[in-house]
């Protein structure tokens, strides 16, 4: 059965791309295998674990629940685009490193992107709010304690009152 093809034009990490893809291609596969940005991870492909979270026009989205053609004309940010410059870390990344907020690191890109949107919206966050915001991302290694500490640390540095 032939699959319909479509051209997808999208911006990922401030770089414009145009690619011809099958209409059924998941956005997560498009980013990982077409654009070879493999920092976005796929954990469940049914929208529960949050590992594949990216920012679409600034909003956190599960790239496994979107089709590549839905990215047409959108601005996408993935973990590769999070740090301000090569060799530098974003304050959230830096805080994760300092507090041991990651172990295997598989869920981490999705958590970083979710937390970026969360702290960009308002960096003054309580621990309860942080836990609530994290609750859509599963981590099997850390028990979340160091992740919560990392986000709180980053929040303070990003201008929040803690």
């Amino acid at each position: 059965m032939l699959q319909e093809l479509l051209t997808v034009r999208t911006s990922v990490n401030h770089v414009s791309y145009a690619r011809v893809v099958e209409v059924r291609m998941l956005l997560s596969d498009f980013i990982r295998h077409e654009l070879r940005l493999t920092g976005t991870h796929v954990g469940c492909e049914h929208g529960v674990c949050g590992a594949c979270t990216i920012l679409v026009d600034g909003l956190p989205m599960r790239s496994c629940l979107m089709l590549a053609p839905q990215a047409e004309g959108r601005e996408i940010l993935t973990v590769e685009g999070l740090s301000p410059e090569p060799g530098q870390l974003h304050p959230i990344q830096e805080a994760f490193r300092e507090t041991h907020g990651l172990q295997c690191g598989f869920c981490t890109p999705g958590i970083l992107m979710t937390m970026k949107a969360f702290l960009d919206e308002n960096p003054s966050r309580s621990e309860e709010e942080i836990r609530e915001a994290l609750s859509g991302n599963l981590c099997r290694c850390t028990g979340y304690q160091h992740i919560v500490a990392a986000v709180a640390l980053a929040a303070g540095r990003m201008g929040g009152k803690g």
């Binding site: 990982r32 493999t38 590769e80 041991h100 295997c104 690191g105 028990g143 979340y144």
Partner: protein
């Protein structure tokens, strides 16, 4: 001797930067030219005869390269080797039935692999799965553990009546005689179900056959790359030197990536050779639920004999263990359960027998804790009940039974999973309990807080449980430490790593010995071309066994540095200072040489390397502990239960733990936090629900509930230290400690919160859930 600067310090991790920036390579990130993609057809039945398999339509589909069934495998089709043989215990019965690369004649569990499709894309490969037509003749299903053990049950393997996978009986002392002297005997039946590891990265294999080089390269999410290399070479009939297995960054393992040999680990390399190409297979989460190993249920009939003062005289236990359709991992899980019942307590007599039972369910193999949870649940519940019936405080009855600090090494006179006697090398349990009670303020909670809360209608309860964990078992690991010409230090070991921080903890060990910074040490793990030998990462052994190999190799390199530098400076070795990446002569600030320069001197282009020495600043050492080393701990928790919804809110969670000397307290804390989270999942959220047809009813992450950040409380950690006596660094494993006692802790705390015993209700099972608590509290 260089002072410890990094060992014991909360050093941030070397591996974090690549992980945080998305540059770390996981198996699904491997990209090769002309890469093909595979998908596996899996059985929708738990037990069925297989008739014809029609693959014609699949083969004809555009983009499909090959479709394989068992009939295509020829001599490659045979049962997988046994990973762990049964231990040499007298009278032991073991019926070895291991899994096949693809099922032939019949399927024995849901998700068993039936056919492999290789195609130009994963999408096409999955399309083609739908083209394959399989004739099934469903058979009666042995799904329930207890029913499966009956002689009249449907047989998972036709030639195994009663589905007996194994029977094991171990004894210490004479339980029957001690029971006759007992002031009290308590008997209960316990049910303990354990779920599955569910690492956030599923399994995956990429295999590349380079026809000109005649070499196979396999990237796999395995916890045991060396064993996989050896097995592949043996099963494919090629030289081990032709096979390279790489376990790159692996997204969590917890035991689930330990099984050798998952069907896909064999099939993908086999097909890559046959097609002379490269093939990728990545498990999806739906497959993971039925194609990756589980842990599962045990039913214990246990009794404890006690003296008037609450001292244990003996324990008798008989249990059934659900091993699933095949038993490639031998008896590790039930033997851990059997041994864990003894806990940190002096148990003069013990009589324990178990039957491992085949069922039409996915394979059971170790998952973090690996059966220890089951055993801890039995002994801790027995002590809770004894305390209540005998009017002794629950913490006091534990204290009275602790093995005395002076009694180590303590012999248990039964055999552990590592084929050595269960022997506790060191420990001191009372201070751990004291510390935990202090940190959770046990007395104040019991005397003031709980009565006050109860008066206000709040259902609040406390739990305090103890456990030990056998860690750091043999046989061995090895490491090579090498100083390179650029001054960086390279450490290579055969273990794989799945997030435990080995890139940092092993570097810390070396950095101190060689006077360099942790960031100057590159740790390479999980690549069989870089290090030939190794067993793998499991049983909380990576840091203990590989860590000590690394330590000894680094020490040998340190000696080489001294020898070469003493020659260079024409001084005595004890005049040299090795620090800051260089060697200098004490009191002579102008006499210094960088380690990289010294390494080059030790590997000269001209002149001669003296007879009896080796070139370079390099050493390889192997460490094999005589037996495991035993860690211990106490978990304490205060909970409140909503009487309407039965939802549990954890108000305080304390872990006091003794893992010997900690290499990196930050990493130790992370290991404990993560373990506790998995323990909480097991105790209250996670249950694999099978129906009587062996169908898994909740095989999505929306239905099988992994705990979220809202379910896991902040934890308070504290540590005591009794150094291990089985290794030079004095370290004990910590990987599984957090997960082990949580089921027992929940049972105790929830009973207390709901005051269930006053109403004649006891919690004798795990996992619990709000609905199960509701049922229990109204029974």
């Amino acid at each position: 001797m260089v002072k410890n600067r990094y060992f014991g310090a909360p050093v941030t991790r070397n591996e974090d930067e690549v992980l945080l920036t998305g540059r770390a390579q996981f198996v699904d990130d491997v990209d090769l030219a002309d890469l093909l993609h595979a998908a596996v057809l899996r059985s929708p039945h738990a037990h069925a005869r297989i008739g014809a398999i029609d693959t014609a339509r699949a083969c004809a589909r555009d983009g499909v390269v090959a479709v394989y069934t068992a009939a295509d495998l020829g001599e490659f089709w045979r049962p997988a080797p046994l990973v762990v043989p049964p231990p040499p215990i007298e009278g032991l019965v073991f019926n070895q039935r291991t899994q096949f690369p693809l099922a032939k004649d019949k399927v024995r569990h849901l998700g068993e692999a039936l056919a492999l499709v290789v195609a130009e894309s994963r999408y096409v490969a999955e399309d083609a799965l739908g083209d394959i037509v399989v004739e099934f003749d469903p058979l009666p299903v042995a799904a329930d553990l207890e029913k499966a053990s009956a002689i009249a049950s449907a047989r998972v393997h036709e030639d195994v009546p009663g589905n007996i996978a194994a029977t094991v009986h171990q004894r210490k002392g004479d339980y029957a005689a001690t029971a006759r002297e007992a002031a009290r005997i308590i008997k209960r039946r316990f049910f303990y179900e354990h779920g599955m590891a569910q690492p956030m990265e599923t399994r995956g294999v990429v295999a590349q056959w380079d026809e000109r080089a005649e070499r196979l390269c396999v990237w796999a999410t395995t916890q045991a790359p060396t064993s996989l290399r050896n097995g592949l070479a043996a099963l494919l009939g090629i030289n081990e030197a032709q096979v390279r297995v790489i376990a790159p960054f692996v997204g969590g393992g917890f035991g689930a990536k330990l099984l050798m040999y998952y069907p896909e680990e064999l099939l993908i390399p086999w097909a890559a050779i046959r097609l002379a190409g490269s093939i990728k297979w990545i498990e999806d989460r739906g497959e993971h639920f039925v194609a990756t190993t589980h842990e599962r249920g045990q039913i214990h009939d246990a009794e404890i004999a006690l003296a008037e003062d609450g001292k244990i005289l003996g324990i008798k236990d008989e249990f059934l263990h659900d091993t699933g359709a095949y038993n490639p991992y031998g008896l590790t899980v039930p033997i851990n359960s059997q041994c864990s019942i003894l806990g940190p307590y002096h148990v003069p007599s013990y009589d324990s027998a178990f039957t491992a039972v085949f069922t039409n369910k996915p394979i059971v193999a170790p998952y973090r804790g690996a059966g220890r949870q089951h055993g801890v649940f039995v002994i801790e519940r027995l002590l809770d009940i004894a305390a209540r019936e005998m009017g002794i405080d629950g913490t006091e009855i534990r204290r009275r039974n602790f093995i005395a600090a002076g009694a180590f090494p303590y012999r248990n006179e039964i055999m552990f999973q590592d084929f050595t006697e269960l022997r506790y090398d060191s420990g001191d349990y009372a201070p751990i309990l004291d510390r935990a009670l202090e940190r959770i303020d046990y007395r104040r909670f019991k005397q003031e807080e709980q009565p006050r809360l109860r008066a206000g209608g709040v259902r609040s309860g406390i739990g305090v449980v103890c456990y030990i964990e056998g860690t750091g078992i043999g046989p061995y690991e090895g490491a090579r430490v090498q100083i390179q010409a650029n001054g960086r230090v390279c450490v290579v070991t055969g273990i794989g790593t799945q997030g435990q921080g080995h890139y940092t903890s092993l570097a810390q060990i070396v950095a101190d010995r060689l006077g360099v910074s942790v960031g100057d040490v590159d740790v390479i793990t999980g690549d069989t071309d870089r290090f030939y030998w190794g067993a793998g990462t499991f049983a909380s052994r990576g840091a203990v066994v590989a860590g000590n190999a690394v330590y000894q190799a680094a020490e040998a390199v340190h000696q080489k540095i001294l020898r070469v530098a003493a020659e260079h400076f024409s001084c005595k070795e004890d005049e040299l200072i090795v620090d800051g990446g260089e060697v200098s002569v004490a009191g002579k600030p102008d006499q210094r040489i960088e380690l990289g320069t010294l390494a080059t001197k030790a590997n000269p282009m001209r002149g001669a390397v003296s007879p009896g020495t080796e070139p370079g600043l390099e050493a390889t050492r192997y460490f094999g502990p005589e037996s495991g080393t035993v860690a211990s701990g106490v978990h304490a928790m205060i909970v409140e239960v909503d009487p309407e919804t039965m939802m549990v809110s954890i108000k305080d969670y304390v872990v006091v733990h003794d893992c010997g000397t900690a290499i990196n307290p930050l990493i130790v804390a992370g290991q404990i936090h993560g373990g506790v989270a998995q323990g909480i999942g097991n105790a209250f959220y996670e249950q694999l629900v099978f129906d009587d047809q062996g169908q898994l009813l909740n095989a999505t992450l929306a239905d099988y509930l992994l705990p979220t950040a809202l379910d896991i409380p902040p934890m308070t950690l504290d540590h005591t230290v009794t150094a291990s006596k089985t290794n030079p660094l004095g370290i004990k494993g910590v990987g599984e400690a957090g997960a082990i006692p949580v089921g027992a802790l929940f049972a105790q705390a929830l009973e207390d919160a709901l005051d269930l015993p006053a109403r004649g209700v006891e919690i004798l099972e795990v996992p619990l859930s709000p609905s199960r608590l509701w049922e229990l509290s109204r029974s």
